[in-house]
Amino acid sequence: MTDMKRRDVLRYSAAGAVTAATAVVGIQAVAGPGSAVGGEKAAAADPRDFEETYKGKKIKGKHNAGGKDELHINNKKLALTVISTLFIPEDGSEPYVANAYISAVNHYDPVEIDNDKNKEGLKKLAKKVVDMLGDLELSDEAAKAHTH
């Protein structure tokens, strides 16, 4: 977690820097990052849509605009809950509030995911769950949602 957190913080600041640079060049914020690269390709490349193998398990993410993102590990559903929570970087930098996902499995370990800088968080969460499962699989209990 220590390493992961540190990486998060680096990525967080790096993304912030990119946004600032873009603003200086003068691209309208409303145009979004996709349109700058050009239409469909960018849309198809949403990092929350993926299907790949990680440590021998199939991880599958699906982004639903306006709906709930979905995650499956070896075809077993993991219900996701969106929360807003405080993150306290271990390097001593300022705490910040961000959107994050928790599930039955990472119940106390929210992973930052949003529509902006942290779209790849869904895959990061998938890998975290696989690491935690080891040789095991999710049960049907993991598919049951609850609200926060």
């Binding site: 977690m1 220590t2 077993k76 929360i83 807003s84 929570t85 405080l86 306290i88 705490p95 509030v97 039955a104 499995v105 990472n106 119940h107 106390y108 370990d109 975290k128 690491d131 935690m132 499962l133 080891g134 095991l136 699989e137 999710l138 049960s139 209990e141 993991a142 609850h146 609200t147 926060h148």
Partner: protein
């Protein structure tokens, strides 16, 4: 009977055995209308925002008093089921390196599983509502997080504001939220496996962990004042006020009702 909750490292081997056996007995025998799995059900139900639109157990000011009442009830039930009024919930001070995951106590771990001895299926421990498909209790100690250090604990303990609006997981200047995230969540993640899940009370170390959280809140109270829960009486929606009943506990079991542990038949050594 009033009990003294000790650090698990100060327990005699007879006390460790009695505690483990009482938990096992409570898996299969009811006491006071509850059994062990009732506790797992409550943890899952009240982690979520319930139909009263209140978050009773986590990510809210009632995090501390809710778990205080939850542990007090379990302690009482373990005493009842075992017929041993001296049973107490020990605490695990995670700032020291001695761990409770030993074969004579909470069970030893092999490749992430408690596969034999205490708290294994063969010993008589079954899992309930596990989100991981297994019959073996899972622990991945240190894989996902480190233990809080003594200085990190004292930094959290030195916060002066109990909690404040918006009373959830986003508050920065809040003893409750900083303890919940920086100490409580972190230790759940440090142990990993079932302790990292919604059904965390499947792992008996849940009780030792929360006992230490309760002890830290008590230490904080002895410095800041016993009746310092926020929000006070009133109409704050979506949270439990000082004199409001905490579900699923009985009528009148409010934060105020549990603020003084000397009225709850236990103390800390």
């Amino acid at each position: 009977m009033a009990v003294v909750r000790k650090n698990f490292t100060a327990m005699t081997s007879a006390e460790k055995t009695a505690f483990a056996n009482a938990l096992r007995q409570f898996k299969t025998t009811s006491a006071n209308g509850r059994n062990y799995n009732w506790y797992i059900d409550q943890h899952i139900t009240f982690f979520a925002r319930t139909t009263d639109n209140i978050s009773h157990a986590h990510q809210s000011p009632s995090f501390f008093p809710w778990h205080r009442e939850y542990l007090r009830l379990l302690e009482l039930d373990l005493q009842t089921v075992s017929g041993n009024p001296g049973i107490f919930i020990p605490y695990w001070d995670w700032t020291v390196s001695t761990l409770p995951f030993t074969s004579d106590f909470l069970g030893s771990v092999t490749n992430g599983s408690v596969s034999s001895g205490n708290f294994s299926p063969a010993w008589g421990w079954s899992l309930y509502r596990s989100s991981i498909a297994t019959s073996f209790l899972q622990r991945r100690v240190g894989q996902n997080a480190t233990r809080p250090t003594a200085s990190q604990v004292s930094t959290v303990q030195s916060r002066t504001v109990y909690d404040q609006s918006p009373w959830n997981s986003t508050v920065s200047n809040s003893y409750r939220n900083r303890n919940e995230i920086e100490l409580h969540n972190r230790v759940h993640n440090y142990v990993g496996g079932h302790m990292g899940t919604r059904e965390a009370p499947n792992d008996p170390c849940f009780w030792l962990h929360h006992c230490n959280i309760d002890r830290l809140w008590w230490l904080w109270q002895t410095v800041r004042g016993l009746d310092t829960y926020q929000p006070r009486t009133g109409t704050t929606s979506g949270v439990v006020d000082n004199n409001e009943t905490m579900r699923p506990f009985g009528a009148g079991r409010s934060p105020l009702a549990v603020h003084d542990i000397s009225a709850l038949n236990y103390s800390y050594a």
